[in-house]
Symmetry: C2
Amino acid sequence: MRYSKLFGKTIHNDPKDVKLVSHKLLLRGGFISESVAGRYYFLPLGWLVHDKIKRIIKEEMDRSGAQEMLAPTLHPLELWQETNRTNTAGFELLKVKDRRGAEFALGGTAEEMFVDVVRKMTVSYKDLPFTVYQFSNKFRDEMRARGGLLRVREFVMKDAYSFHTDDMDFKKEYEKMGETYRTIFKRLGLETDKVAADGGYIGGEYCHEFVVPHAEGEDKYFASEDGKYIIHEDIATFTLEEMNLEEELKNYEEVEAVRGNTMEDGVKVHNLPLWQQLKDVVYADEKGDLILAILRGDLEVNEVKLKNVTGAIDLRAATEEEIRAIGSEPGFISPVGLKGKVKIVADKSLRTVVNMYGGANKKNLDALNMNIDRDFQPDLEGDIAMVQDGYLAPDGKSKLVEKRGIEVGHVFQLGYHYSKKMKGAEFADKDGSLKPYYMGCYGIGLGRTMATIVEKYNDDKGIIWPESVAPFKHHLIVLGNDEAIRSTADQLYNSLLAKRVEVLYDDREGPTAGEKFADADLIGIPNRLVISKKTVAEESLEYKKRSEEGAKLIKISEFLSTLDKV
Amino acid sequence: MRYSKLFGKTIHNDPKDVKLVSHKLLLRGGFISESVAGRYYFLPLGWLVHDKIKRIIKEEMDRSGAQEMLAPTLHPLELWQETNRTNTAGFELLKVKDRRGAEFALGGTAEEMFVDVVRKMTVSYKDLPFTVYQFSNKFRDEMRARGGLLRVREFVMKDAYSFHTDDMDFKKEYEKMGETYRTIFKRLGLETDKVAADGGYIGGEYCHEFVVPHAEGEDKYFASEDGKYIIHEDIATFTLEEMNLEEELKNYEEVEAVRGNTMEDGVKVHNLPLWQQLKDVVYADEKGDLILAILRGDLEVNEVKLKNVTGAIDLRAATEEEIRAIGSEPGFISPVGLKGKVKIVADKSLRTVVNMYGGANKKNLDALNMNIDRDFQPDLEGDIAMVQDGYLAPDGKSKLVEKRGIEVGHVFQLGYHYSKKMKGAEFADKDGSLKPYYMGCYGIGLGRTMATIVEKYNDDKGIIWPESVAPFKHHLIVLGNDEAIRSTADQLYNSLLAKRVEVLYDDREGPTAGEKFADADLIGIPNRLVISKKTVAEESLEYKKRSEEGAKLIKISEFLSTLDKV
């Protein structure tokens, strides 16, 4: 490809409001262009990279025995109603109605579609197991879409679905797909952590994310120092120390407390430890019902855990008006006396402390010596606290280390979650009886994977693509407009094309050597070949790896014959 | 691929309500499965064919110098408003609103999107011309979707867009793309007619369809016997004979005519030729405004031509009430006296006849000796008549022959249609002045192409895929469950895989020889290889081409060595 003809050139200035390295470099390198927030064009250069990622995924999926196919993008909404997902996933589901009045969901994930195509067939135990997959556009109605390809509203996803007779058979595929994912990411230059995670609205009982460790990743997870435990913060548990359980229960009392609204204000006024303070946080769920989450003062609420304990689909902070309407006061909330007025959810940490202090539901009034069961009775109890770096693993031995990373893949056990809800999603077993399929599903976002590679492989000059996904293998640069130089470069270009070597040829006449080198560094093709007056004199080219510093002169003939050997 | 593991098997009974051969065979062969009307899954076998079609298109597009990229599927609606296409294409445009209130069109075609990405860049005359293309899902809100993959509501389209400094430069690309299309279709086994056609809501001044001649095609077009003229019925013109222009104009008169409402009734009552009768057809446009189309009695209205003459976007037949509301009477309509009450559009055929007869806007009242200009004055005049088989070409020499076919590709001159409407869609010319780009666009529907191949290549037993798009090259069948037979077949299968030969291996134990042969014929893979007791005894396989009758025995070793030679 001649760079002069390439659609989508480098951009010299940093784009505005762009923070992430991958976002900046992909825009500046001419790989992507923004349509509107969260929706990107892949320019020809970017599409080459995307396609290489796709091919690697396809090769490994095929090798695993999975079969590629394609489902429609518009999903009949009835299917999502059958599994009740219009409610659980409703907030990020785009819907469209055609002129005959039929309603469709713009697929964000396609479990129902794949169950639907399978249940229309006659499936016997002999046909199982099988895994089918597709590459297709997925849509998410995200409120915020920032960070380039890392969080978008439309993207190509490889999603796979497996169908089994039972749990045992599924587990083999789940293992195999996990290995397939590791191989895929390794070939893409990405080492991944396999992190037990929360399944969100996908359903099922367990799932794992493939996470590339990265300081600026959105995913927070924890690994125990002994390596036995690696788990997303949303489902991570930890061992709680018992604090003052040996203390005698004192009498509940209320005292005047002229203070501010923060936890620190409480500590100062009462001169008691933070962990002994009762923390109260009020939320409203998607129906507007209020939830009072209570926990030890040194802990924070994890909202995903709170959703899982309460069954809420969406949560937001309650307003001051809502808090007052249940008979309380912001900054002075207490579960004491609120039974029946709000759903009280207690973290299990409240079983590690006695004689707690905190607000008493009136301005400037605090309570002392609050004790669970005696003074307040939660409606629900569970683990709703955020893990923190340094906490003890559930086994109480190893410390938990906080990690951050970017989720690039996700595998899910679905079990009977879909097949039991969707009528006729059954196979004929050996004895002729009809049984629901046992299922799993497996996803990789291609654009996000591409951005993650850039996040990992770059320097202050630009991208450094791994060979496996580089848009071209070689970046040929001609310096000078002299006839002899040009014809040498043209000839080299043609020789490379004849050998089917992927080469980008910067044949532009205007830019200086410095500009061409800067563009090459920005674009990040692994090998740079320069033809200049100097090299032509020696029938050579200057060769430099993008990932290394030094350049060296190589005879052109020698260079070409090396290629033959590969 | 082992057939026992393939997802999507053959179906033995003809599906209900399926008329077209391609629809039936693709369903029965296990290539596609219907989601809801007009939306299909491509099962693994069908997706292999789709992918081969895609690869051939990609190879030829790349060879032509076009560059693949990808635009978002959701198009910001503002872009379609800029070019006013929300009105012209509104009827088949699916729209979606996200939760922040932003509106999008589900792309049916992507001119605005490609202009938008280009205008965001700095483009100089040096960057032009270029052609970019994508394979992406397209959506059409069709009222009727029947016929399998021939008319669907969602499909993968290859759409390309070219950008030029001027008309001259564009014409070169238009020629080149025409040749590219011919090559693509030829490689796919399809001979095409390049038919001048109507551009519909795409805009531009001219366009050509690539049509595969086929008796049941939806496209009607005309070719002159001398081959000089090949044109879609919607824009085809023809030479009109002058009928009775030598007659003297007689006096207009109205007479009682107790008759039915048809043209034939008029002929019988007045005993005059059909061509002398004035034909009146009333339409309502998309705003509800009425249009009276008048033409010679022996001609029919072509609604696309009528739209082009009037600028109407959508037309429907007027109701009897609407006809009476303008002071007329169904079956007795006349333009005489309706001036100002309805837009009168006269076909140019009215200039070939005098003293016409027909209704007089009252029940059982007819008019005689109606003459254009004297008795009625049209608001618009033009060519609004359907061509018929046997009419004379515009040059008046050669006869027009009616042909039918399936449109598989379409190339459009767009000119400045988009770039002049979209602000900033300009390039810097040599003198530094900003000028709008001159554009073209070029589409191929992949699913429809696949169905067309099946329409052309089939017999009463099933599909006969051309080698270039067959899902596999060989269909290996093992007959009998005997250990020796099985192991010979397995070994052959493995040898073929090792040679990277594409092979589908029918390794099922249940079906009879007849069932396996019938499935192979239905699926239509070009070469059938059978291993049976008989062949094993002779260390041979039975080889048969799907397209030929006879089978022959070939030594397995010989067969394998032939493959090496290819």
